[in-house]
């Protein structure tokens, strides 16, 4: 797992070498958080990969929260009350619109849709919530780590000699210039 995930807390201990994703779930105070609470009191199990953030309403989720969460998490889940059940009338619908728009943008920026999902859960739906968490954890496990370092490394051109980063390339170029007239081999190197 990439070093960046360390901020979100250690990932659950990997069993049998399985990848254990770190997933952040935004919950609302009135429905989905209570569903998670219910799952707990009823001793239903859901994977420890999911960390909950309780907000008063799913409408509070600013797309910037999600952007920031992806710096450390492998996936982000948005949960809230069912339509017409929102404690704040229609804020869950606004959350839905933002979710749909944000997912389009994230997809264009390379974040797979499985990494950003949403579902509704009423305060009584502890079991459904646990089942949804299970499903999403498995989907993200199948995708693998978000791995920003790997993603950024993929931007390095194939022609770049391994180990030659931005600063090093310049240093190498300068070293070449300072060196005595090169043999043919060097020309081959720099043009490789």
């Amino acid at each position: 797992m990439s070093a960046t995930t360390a901020h979100a807390g250690a990932a659950p201990a990997a069993k049998d070498g399985r990848f254990e994703p770190v997933i952040l779930a935004f919950t609302c105070n009135w429905c989905s958080y209570r569903a998670a609470d219910l799952a707990g009191t009823a001793r239903m199990k859901y994977p420890p990969n999911v960390r909950l953030v309780r907000l008063m309403c799913s409408g509070r989720v600013d797309p910037a929260f999600v952007m920031r969460a992806f710096a450390d998490a492998d996936a982000v889940i948005l949960t809230g009350c069912w339509p017409a059940d929102c404690h704040y009338r229609i804020q869950n619908v606004k959350a839905l619109r933002r979710f749909i728009l944000l997912r389009r943008v994230l997809e264009s920026m390379g974040i797979e849709p499985q990494r950003f999902q949403r579902f509704y859960a009423s305060a009584a739906e502890g079991q459904q919530l646990a089942a949804e968490f299970d499903r999403i954890v498995e989907e993200v496990r199948a995708l693998g780590p978000l791995d920003w370092a790997g993603r950024h490394a993929a931007f390095v051109p194939s022609a770049t000699p391994p180990g030659a980063g931005v600063g090093e390339a310049r240093a190498a170029a300068e070293a070449r210039a300072a060196a005595p007239p090169p043999a043919e081999r060097e020309l081959a190197e720099v043009t490789a």
């Binding site: 619109r97 944000l102 490394a153 022609a159 020309l187």
Partner: protein
């Protein structure tokens, strides 16, 4: 040493438009020339990097740095000018948020090079590609090495001020020049370090004369798909995606006044952590639909979501995996966390003690956002020594 304050201007990954905007000062430029000793400005005068390298540290009073950091030459100059300047200004959209060149961060370097050297429009039978160094007749020719991603200036070195705009409006540049001039005379004080200069603190909507009424949009359309645009009604309300709600004011709302939607060239307004995120919130809340299917249909009207929401600010988006991964991508060239006084770069010598108060940083250390207004304790402004003062 000359008694006049020393000014530098540089272009990294930029189009040169910012330099033109400064040249546009016209007569005021003569004033700049008589006030400042222009020591380095590649766009208008011959200059050698070696001359800058030979300058003592902190010997340039103010540097206007245009352009993002796309290659090792840009990066070298960013570090060099940071060290040589008392005040480093990220000038224009490219330096402050990446701008159009930052959109290339959606593509890998191979894709970018393919677009230039190996597509249908290219006549390149030998498949020639740029190489960092080439030896011909015993002489080594070099070109800069492209970096995997474009970074903003503040992602590479600490920046003192930001002047937004693509390019900054000439009138606002005049304001900045005047302010700096007054600061040099001791008749004005520069705002706290990290501030935005030459712009407002609100949004383009606040400057826009168009009328706003309804809060619902049933369909998004491109300007070209609309036969007649209402001359007085808000463009967004007419279904034209207009970026005014997230964009900093300062331009005078020029585009909507001309019936063209704001595309966001003045960058994020005060308090906006991620430009695209703020704009997505604004657009989504006016979508007139409650059912997912219907919402999707309306959003289909936004033809190019990333281009719409991040045309100027992609390189400064929060979605970049944090500094660590970014630094790793650039393989170990240590980048100072911006705004941190303990940044591993030579502290600018500013007459006063460098700022110790942290900048607005609610999202954790790797997400410093310089162009937002600081809340809480304000870092003191860098000070210019008055001309002919005791320090000289």
């Amino acid at each position: 040493m000359s008694a006049k304050p020393r000014l530098a201007m540089y272009w990294a990954a930029a189009c040169g438009g910012c330099d033109i905007a400064v040249l546009n000062l016209g007569e005021a430029l003569v004033e700049v020339g008589s006030r400042f000793d222009v020591v380095f400005w590649p766009a208008v005068m011959d200059a050698k990097y070696a001359d800058v390298e030979a300058m003592p540290d902190a010997s340039i009073d103010i540097t206007l740095f245009c352009g993002g950091i796309r290659n090792d030459e840009n990066e070298h100059l960013a570090h060099l000018l940071r060290a040589k300047s008392k005040i480093l200004v990220a000038f224009g959209s490219c330096a402050s948020e990446g701008c159009i060149p930052g959109l290339a961060n959606l593509s890998t370097l191979d894709e970018i090079l393919d677009a230039s050297y190996a597509n249908e429009t290219t006549d390149n039978p030998d498949g020639v590609r740029p190489v960092p160094a080439w030896r011909e007749n015993g002489v080594t020719l070099r070109i800069p090495t492209l970096a995997p991603l474009l970074r903003t200036l503040d992602q590479v070195v600490p920046v003192d001020y930001t002047v937004p705009g693509c390019p900054p409006e000439t009138k606002r540049i005049e304001d900045v020049v005047e302010l700096v001039g007054k600061a040099l005379d001791g008749t004005a004080v520069l705002p706290p370090r990290g501030s935005v200069l030459g712009a407002g603190h609100s949004t383009v909507c606040d400057e826009c004369a168009r009328e706003r009424n309804v809060k619902k949009i049933g369909a998004f359309r491109r300007v070209t798909e609309i036969a007649t645009i209402d001359p007085t009604l808000c463009l967004l309300e007419q279904g034209i995606p207009c970026n005014g709600p997230a964009t900093r004011d300062g331009c005078g709302a020029l585009c909507p006044a001309a019936a063209a939607p704001c595309i966001g060239c003045y960058g994020p307004a005060d308090g906006v952590l991620d430009y695209g995120a703020r704009l997505m919130s604004a657009f989504a809340s006016v979508v007139d639909a409650d059912e997912p299917e219907r919402i999707e249909v309306i959003l289909d009207g936004i033809a190019d979501p990333v281009g719409q929401f991040y045309r100027f600010s992609l390189a400064s988006s929060l979605l970049r995996g944090g500094r660590e991964a970014m630094d790793q991508a650039h393989r170990g060239r240590a980048s100072a966390p911006v705004g941190s006084p303990a940044a591993n770069h030579p502290a600018p010598r500013l007459g006063r003690t460098p700022p110790s108060a942290p900048m607005l940083d609610v999202l954790g250390p790797q997400d410093h956002v310089p162009q937002r207004a600081p809340t809480g304790p304000e870092p003191p402004a860098p000070t210019l020594e008055p001309v002919g003062g005791p320090a000289r």
